[in-house]
Symmetry: C2
Subunit: 439 residues, 2 copies
């Protein structure tokens, strides 16, 4: 597998001269790194100013990985050539295989046979390719520089992959690896999950799954994998199952069966693509949460109520404040404080008042995680409050979730939180929906 993620030398078969074509984009993406990349193009002499070869067979040096971007009907021939050239790792980006019907299925079977003959490992066809952020490798036609992170994301849909990567760049979310598996004739979730378990740059594995070829094996692997695995599974309803069949040709089992299998195997289950990524990011930042007892700290009663609602609705417990702590809180808070969890420190609270409460509750925590809400009122100090939360989190290691609510007035504070592995949610509902995934 290593050669897919950190190949020494690469050949791009179908490296086009036209800047809008997939083969050209892949070639340019690969040229961004220092490793040796060869262009293969039957017509061109030069591609992007580099010498081009008619076939991989004309390249003298050893090739660790070939990336194929030519029309489907020519793919079997070049895979055969890869075999002869002893290239053992091939990404087939080209589409036009089983996803288009019987004719494509035949081509796909041909490729499988050739691959078996030469012991070639194949990723794809009909996929986006691989990005390894840690090794500066972009073997896809996605144009954009991913930010580094601890989350590895495998997508069965290339199109969804593109959308997610584009969104993640805008939102400042990072990845360790991105893999699009396409039709997955060879390398699929099982192999990749095992590989990512050993990858030192990956802390969390996020998967978008439409169908599993060997579900039983997958569950076995997941049981062994020590890193958190989060799945978004398509095909939840009848309409979704029908749509999956039209899309991939695969028969999808009942969602409930999947769900219980996931649960048994310790796989976490997300309900939307955004929740998948946010929960993965939360875990990569702060790890899993040990229990369901929440402490809510807020400068606004209304959002505090909504937060209590959302978390209790999602199965969490809004823990009671111990009597002794209550007395201590009475000493530092204005008399109209809520005397209850949510701890409403009242609208005129400055960072100092948050700090006093954080100090008191850190002494003997009666909860498993803290949710801190802030609305930007006249006296509020978003930045200083964010800094207090960062200190609290670093000192106590207690998981901290924040909902600083608003727009421009909280922007800088939210960035401070983010830089310090504290994830800010738009509102309590979003927070509770994402944190629910962890259980």
């Amino acid at each position: 597998m290593k050669q897919f993620f950190n190949p020494k030398t690469i050949a791009v078969i179908g490296a086009s001269r036209s800047r809008r074509k997939v083969g050209n984009i892949v070639f340019r993406n690969l040229l961004k790194d220092k490793r040796k990349v060869y262009a293969v193009n039957i017509k061109a002499e030069l591609v992007e100013g580099k010498r081009s070869y008619k076939s991989v067979l004309n390249i003298k040096k050893r090739i660790s990985l070939a990336v194929i971007c030519i029309p489907a009907k020519f793919v079997p021939k070049v895979v055969e050539e890869c075999g002869i050239k002893k290239i053992r790792n091939v990404i087939i980006i080209s589409s036009g295989f089983s996803e288009i019907g019987r004719q494509g299925k035949r081509l796909e079977n041909q490729i499988k046979k050739i691959a078996k003959k030469y012991k070639i490992r194949i990723l794809g066809p009909n996929c986006l390719g691989v990005i390894n952020v840690n090794e500066n490798l972009n073997a896809t036609f996605f144009e954009g520089d991913l930010l580094p992170g601890d989350v590895a994301f495998i997508s069965q849909s290339g199109a969804l992959g593109v959308a997610v990567l584009d969104w993640a760049i805008k939102e400042g979310l990072g990845f360790s690896k991105f893999i699009s598996i396409g039709n997955a004739v060879d390398i699929e979730f099982n192999k990749l999950t095992e590989y990512l378990n050993e990858d030192k740059n990956t802390k969390v594995i996020a998967l978008y799954i439409e169908s599993l070829k060997d579900g039983k094996k997958f569950m076995e692997i997941c049981k062994k994998v020590k890193k958190p695995i989060i799945v978004l599974k398509a095909g939840k309803t009848k309409a979704g199952i029908k749509a999956t069949a039209s899309h991939t040709g695969a028969l999808v089992g009942s969602y409930d069966v999947y769900l219980s299998a996931f649960k048994q195997s310790g796989v976490l289950n997300a309900n939307s693509i955004k929740e998948l990524l946010l929960s993965a990011l939360f875990i990569s930042n702060q790890g899993l949460i040990k229990g369901k007892k929440a402490c809510i700290l807020t400068n606004a009663g209304g959002p505090g109520v909504l937060c209590a609602d959302n978390f209790e609705f999602n199965g969490f417990e809004i823990a009671d404040i111990p009597k002794k702590l209550m007395k201590e809180l009475n000493k530092v808070l204005p008399k109209q404080w809520s005397h209850n969890n949510p701890i409403d420190v009242i609208g005129d609270a400055q960072a100092d008042r948050y700090k006093k409460v954080l100090n008191l509750i850190s002494k003997k925590p009666f909860f498993d995680f803290l949710i801190c809400l802030l609305t930007p009122q006249a006296m509020t100090e978003p930045i200083k409050t964010a800094q207090e939360l960062v200190k609290f989190h670093k000192k106590t290691k207690i998981p901290v979730i924040t909902c600083f609510m608003g727009g421009k007035r909280i922007e800088r504070a939210v960035n401070i939180l983010k830089e310090n592995q504290i994830m800010n949610f738009e509102n309590p509902k979003q927070a509770s929906d994402v944190i629910k995934i962890l259980f």
Copy 2:
């Protein structure tokens, strides 16, 4: 009520010289418009370069509205003065009343008595005030210029109000009116909802409710109001109800009782503050949707499946494509199209292919609303596709929801949609959760 939303002359009682104080911010906000605003301040001669009066009694001109921002204990006296001066409309922004306990409750009762004696209508106390975007009136201490829109938003929580307004400005969402009712000793949801029903600039009424003083009356009013009313009700769970009691002192009835009363009165129910605003905005753009049959159009199979899942899960029907239309679609689409709803036009679709499908389905729509998904792939034309959707929507009047998914690559297209009353959702789950509120 008119004098709260479009007063001729205003007195700010407690117009402070200190720029960080509420009374100063309110005064400056009001000075932004041309109407006559008087500063009342017992100590100062000048506030923000304007002459200041010791008491409203010293002002010779008639005053339509007084805004009070002084410490609670002095409020009864100035309300009495307002009465003598024949000011019939008063906003009390000051806090320190029933929300802080018995002592505050006593002050609040005093004010009620004085108001009754002089026939003064009161908004507040402990509120943010009123913004009337249509008349350029900002009688709150919220610093920021709201964008104009058709949604009126009433919040029982001032802090939540601030957060929402700040967020809405950042997101480019507009309002007709914003009202924070605070402790609502006099003017509350009932009066305001009736008023907004007659307001020609308001198409949709969005309410954040913690507790209702006269729930029965409220339901009666809602039945009569012709404009869509959407509510976010706090106090859904035991923890939420307990938190509400700590926060407002009000006893909250069972959420289920509220829900069924809302349903009977035609009130729509949102589950989060974001959903409340997005559903209100959707209705203000495109009105209500007539039925539950969805047509999904996509250039990506995976998101299509997720969309079918999310909408069916939320009680919508992914309508079957009539046979005749299927034949027509076969003529214009590549043979590997999904042959099914979701209509997957395949990843290499340009705007032209979307257009052909839009033309065909508009002839005899087999659905109540269209959801159009787009992921920015190599051949995709987000802007042109957005333009085709705008044309389709204008011509057919069929409700259109979009999920253009991604970041930078779809930004301009999303703006085009937005400018033409088509709301783009981040992902199919968000879209289905918001559209569900309409039913």
